[in-house]
């Protein structure tokens, strides 16, 4: 209170005082003698006769009496002497003396001489007695959401005076090393208000931050996560983070907030087409992305063939995408890592939120099981999209049905200050019945348990056990053509990670992991009435993937930070299984099998291993700009087998084995980042070049389903991709958003001595997802607290396609199509504009349910973007535009 009064006084008076009293404090001389006189009285006397005022709280000095004689003492000398033993310090501020409780370092006075510290009550950390030699100490603690106690991952801590900082780890824990002294420390996180504290560090100690979510009352809403200058200061190149607020802010197709669709708006990320599942990062395939939700792998994140994604937005806290390999604690995919983290349940109160949309509805409930100790969060989403299909003017689709649901459960338990347990469970299910016969179904079930332990403020660890399965099933359960075709991948893994902060400028992570996979590439059984179909069972495969890594984030100096690390991965394909041996002098074909080798259970069939170096460095050029460089190598041992352009529900995963070698990706990137206007505007230009070894493609006309000699139809080649990504982003103000543009090329090369094993005569050709120009504009306008407009425009070059270039009749076949070489043509360009308007209900404090209406319009100008392009028997081309018209929708979201 007092502080406030002081500040106010100064603010009101300083302006005039400074002008009136020309005499400086330096010139004030005290020559007087006091006998048991109250200090307050002395100050009053000085104030009356000299051009100076004192600011203080009466009870600080009311018991101080002075009995001393002063002769020709400067005012400062006088103050030094009388306050010497009083634990009172002072600063000179615009010819005024401000008394402060506690000690203050001389630097502090200097640095504050033109700026009164607004929060001058210092929070003392530690005890000076424990650190008599004034050694460097560690300040550490958690940064949490003040609302629900959820740890904030990737929140930033920054010490103004020393300009060093730290980012919270996956458990929301940070630590900084400092010499004892007084500091101003800031903690911030996207979507949260920044908190600034003055601390007085004396020995090792804890400092926790509780951050409040930025309320709608604030003018500024940050779009991207992290500290506002994370793009400049972060050392990881190619890292993109989206907060759930940003994701929710974008207009959504049929009002379904979609994590994957939001990712696609980032530069360097694209999709092959409307409704296609998955996404492509820097010219990589859909199967080259590692999708993680709370450390558990998701193999297919699509609902309804990819029109929606299977992450429930109400549960997602944030989404991080690493374009390229990312830090060495991740491995296994050559294109990108998408890490989706979900929230922990509120530890203090019960809450719920949800939404009612056109396609699906969702509900999330959370609350404490034991207050401040154990919490749960449970959420689910279910579709009722059948009626949409009924409205499509297509007889086949009207007989179709589509259902999906997903559900998450997360229980977190704080055993004590040092131990925490989190159990997560996830299920996602899809069923799509096409045209009254075939049903496509796919299902993910993941469970994981994680134990985090803090040894001390320097060393933390976590152990997680996880089990996941992805199964797909295509079946027709009625009639004489009934059949069931299944495939699956299952993994069980253990992962141990350590975070170690040996010195202030280093952050070391290391750990090991092991995953056991079992693959079922295809199993066909005939239905009861079907006597025409022979059962086929493609042999199962088992493999073990293990990894060990170490990484250090080293802040060399204020300008240079470097993340360097190494991962070593080992992959073992083990029995039981059979390996066919082909005639080495001829192309692999079922007819060139010479022999079969049988491997017994657990016997090693083939192993692959290798190092994966990862380096990323940042060089700051001033406060507002930096240059980043990175090199990542990654090895991918499991392969998505799909020879269609879009991911089909019958696609399956295959292990590296005797014939199928791991894919190896090398990516180099260099980027220039610059912010303007106090980080309100971010700009960046990034170049990358990527090479992938052992990319797979398929022989002409190869069929991948139920192929027992798949290796004979797979071709091994290499890929290269390069491009430039430009981003212009505005983070503050009423208008926010970004403009991203990517120019890229992604090409494949399949050379062989056998013409049959070449593609396009052994020349480079565009990959299926090569889309050179890609532009995205995301625009948000916050007209008032309750009214927000968003728009989203996207343009990209049409994907490559192989088209018939001529036709001829042959024998009794009237029209044989003569196709171009692979991917030599392009489908029409893709562009689309979406709009949405969000209307929030009034923010009355005690309202039980807070609701908002979201009106959105997808494909505003009804562009007929092709979903697929097909050809009739004469080779004439047609495009099928599934979403070829304007789609308005309405969603109601609520929170309580």
């Amino acid at each position: 209170m007092l502080i406030k009064r002081i500040s106010l006084c100064i603010f009101l008076t300083v302006g005039s005082i400074v002008c009136i009293y020309a005499q400086s404090i330096e010139e004030i001389i005290i020559s007087d003698s006091y006998q048991n006189q109250e200090l307050i009285e002395i100050f009053n006397q000085i104030e009356a006769s000299r051009p100076v005022e004192f600011f203080y709280k009466k009870n600080w000095i009311s018991n101080i009496k002075i009995s001393q004689k002063f002769e020709n003492k400067k005012l400062t000398e006088f103050l030094d002497e009388i306050l010497k033993d009083q634990k009172i310090s002072y600063i000179i501020y615009n010819n005024n003396v401000v008394l402060l409780k506690g000690d203050i370092s001389p630097e502090m006075v200097v640095s504050s001489s033109n700026n009164l510290p607004e929060a001058a009550n210092y929070q003392v950390i530690g005890n000076a007695l424990e650190n008599p030699n004034n050694n460097e100490v560690i300040v550490s603690g958690f940064i949490k959401d003040a609302g629900n106690d959820d740890e904030l991952i990737g929140a930033r801590v920054f010490v103004e005076e020393t300009e060093n900082g730290s980012v919270t780890n996956v458990r929301g824990f940070y630590s900084v090393k400092l010499p004892p002294g007084k500091y101003t420390i800031r903690a911030g996180f996207t979507g949260y208000e920044e908190k600034k504290l003055s601390i007085d560090v004396r020995s090792n100690g804890t400092l926790n931050f509780d951050l409040f979510e930025e309320t709608v009352e604030l003018e500024e809403i940050t779009i991207t996560a992290e500290a506002q200058d994370e793009n400049i200061k972060g050392v990881m190149a190619g890292k993109e983070k989206l907060s759930i607020e940003a994701i929710k802010g974008m207009p959504a197709f049929l009002g379904e907030i979609d994590v994957i669709k939001s990712i696609i708006t980032l530069p360097g990320v694209s999709t092959v087409g409307e409704g296609a599942s998955g996404f492509n990062v820097r010219g990589g395939g859909v199967g080259q992305n590692l999708l993680l939700q709370d450390d558990a792998v998701i193999y297919n994140a699509s609902h309804l063939f990819g029109f929606f994604s299977s992450f429930n937005a109400d549960l997602v806290r944030d989404v991080t995408l690493y374009k390229g390999g990312g830090p060495p604690n991740f491995g296994g995919r050559v294109s990108s890592i998408l890490n989706v983290s979900t929230r922990n349940g509120n530890q203090k109160e019960f809450h719920g939120q949800g939404g009612i949309g056109l396609v699906s509805s969702r509900l999330v409930l959370e609350g404490p099981i034991a207050k401040n100790k154990t919490s749960f969060i449970i959420g689910g989403r279910s579709s009722y999209s059948d009626w949409i299909l009924k409205r499509i003017k297509n007889a086949d689709l009207q007989q179709s049905s589509a259902q999906f649901y997903d559900a998450n459960l997360k229980i977190s338990h704080n055993v004590n200050d040092k131990n925490k347990l989190i159990f997560s469970s996830y299920i996602s299910n899809d069923r799509f019945k096409f045209s009254a016969d075939t049903t496509y179904g796919w299902r993910t079930i993941n469970n994981s348990l994680k134990w985090s332990h803090i040894f001390n403020e320097k060393l933390l660890s976590s152990i997680s056990l996880s089990h996941g399965s992805y199964k797909n099933k295509t079946f027709d359960d009625q009639g004489f053509d009934s059949f069931t075709l299944r495939s699956s991948i299952e993994n069980t893994g253990v992962k141990v990670d350590f975070n170690y902060v040996p010195l202030n400028k280093h952050k070391v992570d290391f750990g090991i992991s092991a995953t056991k996979y079992s693959f079922e590439p295809g199993d066909l059984v005939a239905g009861e009435l079907n006597t025409n179909t022979d059962p086929v069972k493609v042999r199962k495969e088992q493999s073990i993937e293990s990894g060990i890594y170490i990484k250090d984030e080293f802040q060399v100096n204020h300008k240079l930070s470097i993340m360097y690390g190494l991962r070593y991965s080992l992959f073992q394909n083990v029995g039981e299984g059979d390996v066919y041996l082909y005639d080495p002098n001829r192309p692999k074909e079922p007819t060139t099998i010479l022999d079969t080798t049988h491997y017994s259970k657990g016997q090693l069939i083939k192993s692959y291993s290798g190092f994966e170096p990862r380096v990323s460095l940042r060089y700051a050029m001033g406060i507002q700009s930096s240059l980043k460089f990175s090199y990542y190598r990654t090895r991918q041992y499991v392969h998505l087998i799909s020879n269609t352009t879009a991911v089909a529900p019958v696609d399956f995963w295959q292990s590296s084995n005797f014939y199928l070698e791991p894919q190896i990706g090398d990516q180099v990137s260099i980027g220039l980042f610059r912010n303007f206007k106090d980080n309100a505007i971010e700009t960046s230009v990034e170049f990358y070049y990527k090479k992938i070894k052992n990319v797979i493609d398929y022989k002409d006309g190869a069929s991948i389903i139920l192929n027992e000699t798949l290796e004979a139809d797979l071709l091994k080649g290499s890929g290269r991709a390069y491009g430039v990504e430009v981003l212009l982003q505005k983070n503050k103000g009423k208008i926010t958003g970004w403009l991203g543009y990517t120019y890229s090329k992604s090409e494949r090369l399949f050379q062989s001595e056998n013409e049959e094993e070449q593609i396009n005569l052994g020349k480079y050709y565009p990959a299926n997802y090569d889309k050179p120009h890609d532009l995205t504009l995301v625009f948000n306008y916050k007209a008032s607290r309750r009214f927000k407009i968003s728009a989203n425009f996207t343009y990209s070059t049409g994907r490559p396609i192989t088209v018939p270039v001529s036709k001829y009749s042959y024998d009794r076949i009237l029209s044989v199509l003569n196709y171009s070489e692979r991917n030599q043509f392009r489908i029409p360009d893709y562009h689309r504009l979406d709009l949405s308007v969000t209307l929030s209900e009034g923010h009355k404090k005690n309202k039980l349910i807070k609701g908002e209406w979201v009106f959105s319009v997808y494909n505003v100008y009804g562009r007929k973007n092709p979903y697929s392009v097909f050809f009739n028997q004469n080779g004439q081309a047609f495009r099928l535009a599934v979403l070829g018209s304007i789609f308005p929708s309405i969603t109601y979201n609520f929170k309580f």
Partner: protein, 371 residues
């Protein structure tokens, strides 16, 4: 409340799927020479109809056309010859600027010991040549034969799909013995001819009885790979429905030609088959160019479409008559006037040339090979 919203949405919601033609600019793609060439170890003289033009070996040359309904243009005036590895050559004669070049020697047949190549010099001076091909001798004995069978066919009855059990015949071949260890590759041509008798003309009218041939009646490309390399086992060639099949009413015959092919020729046909069976959906494997075995000698970029193959051939004319079957089926005569209704007979009741069941040729001259 919720229902009201739903109604509101329904009224403003427009969900439509649309298919539009689009065009790709393929004008930079040159038209290609298409070669369809075939010889076998069965000479015209040894065939069931030695004098028919179809019995002679021919090479057909044409130019591919743009993707449209346009017919391919023929390539006339070329010099076409077949050469063997002993230096022998035979020159083919073009039949009246049809682009079809025939071996007019009725006794010519491919020899098992020889390798053959096709050579073409077009009248603009381009020289084309095929890769060498040779006979993989394999002839069937005691074929074809049939077995009575019943099959469930899903039929669309009044918009509802219902299974219907129909009687029919499975026709088999007996695969040739294969004494080598190599895979044998087969293809069959199945062309039916049947008798159609128009009910209304008098018995001696030229419009009464016709022999109808339909090249496209059996649409499937029938292929088989004898991986075991042993042969001598049955291979089903086609199923001929009997129930409701009026083609069998009088007399029905099928010309079955069995070809033993080279591996490359088989791959070519297999590619054709794959292309025909692909429906062009987003889940189909990507389409591809079908590679043939003919090259431009001087310009490898001038790609040639089609294939010149040399086969070992067996040919059989096979007959079946519904009255020979051990069961009788209900007969109906569509030309009988329905009782009490004035009847205007349809053209096919008045003339056998007006046969409406699909044909590629109709004649009232009894073929010499007809039984």
């Amino acid at each position: 409340m919720k229902t009201r919203i739903a109604i509101l949405i329904l009224s403003i919601f427009c969900f439509s799927t649309c298919v539009d033609p689009i065009e790709f600019d393929t004008s930079s793609e040159p038209a290609r020479l298409v070669v369809e060439g075939f010889i076998s170890d069965l000479s015209a003289a040894e065939r069931s109809d030695p004098y028919a033009i179809e019995s002679y070996f021919k090479v057909k040359l044409s130019i591919s056309s743009p993707v449209s309904n346009q017919r391919d243009e023929v390539v006339s005036g070329a010099t076409v010859k077949i050469v063997d590895d002993s230096g022998g050559e035979i020159i083919l004669q073009e039949f009246s600027e049809s682009g079809e070049y025939y071996i007019i020697d009725q006794h010519f047949k491919a020899q098992e010991s020889r390798e053959y190549k096709l050579q073409i010099i077009t009248n603009d001076g381009k020289t084309y040549e095929s890769l060498p091909e040779r006979v993989h001798k394999a002839k069937s004995q005691d074929w074809p034969y049939y077995e009575l069978d019943e099959k469930l066919i899903i039929q669309d009855i009044g918009g509802k799909k219902e299974p219907n059990l129909i009687k029919g015949i499975n026709v088999f071949t007996n695969l040739p013995d294969n004494e080598t260890t190599e895979t044998a590759y087969y293809r069959w041509d199945i062309i039916p001819t049947w008798v159609y008798i128009a009910p209304l003309p008098s018995d001696n009218s030229p419009l009464k009885t016709c022999w109808v041939t339909n090249d496209y009646y059996f649409k499937d490309i029938v292929l088989h790979e004898d991986n075991l390399g042993k042969g001598n086992y049955p291979k089903q060639l086609f199923f001929l429905p009997v129930t409701g099949n009026d083609k069998l009413k009088h007399d029905f015959s099928v010309l079955i030609r069995q070809f033993s092919l080279s591996e490359k020729a088989y791959d070519f046909w297999e590619s054709l088959k794959k292309q025909r069976e692909s429906v062009g959906s987003i889940f189909d494997p990507p389409p591809f160019t079908i590679k043939g075995n003919i090259i431009n000698v001087n310009d490898p970029d001038d790609r040639v479409l089609g294939y010149f193959s040399v086969a070992s051939e067996s040919e059989k004319r096979w007959f079946v008559n519904i009255h020979e079957l051990p069961y009788t089926l209900e007969e109906s005569n569509p030309c009988d006037p329905p009782p009490g209704v004035p009847n205007i007979p349809t053209p096919d009741c008045l003339s056998c040339f007006e046969y409406g069941g699909g044909s590629t040729s109709i004649t009232n001259q009894k073929p010499p090979w007809w039984r």
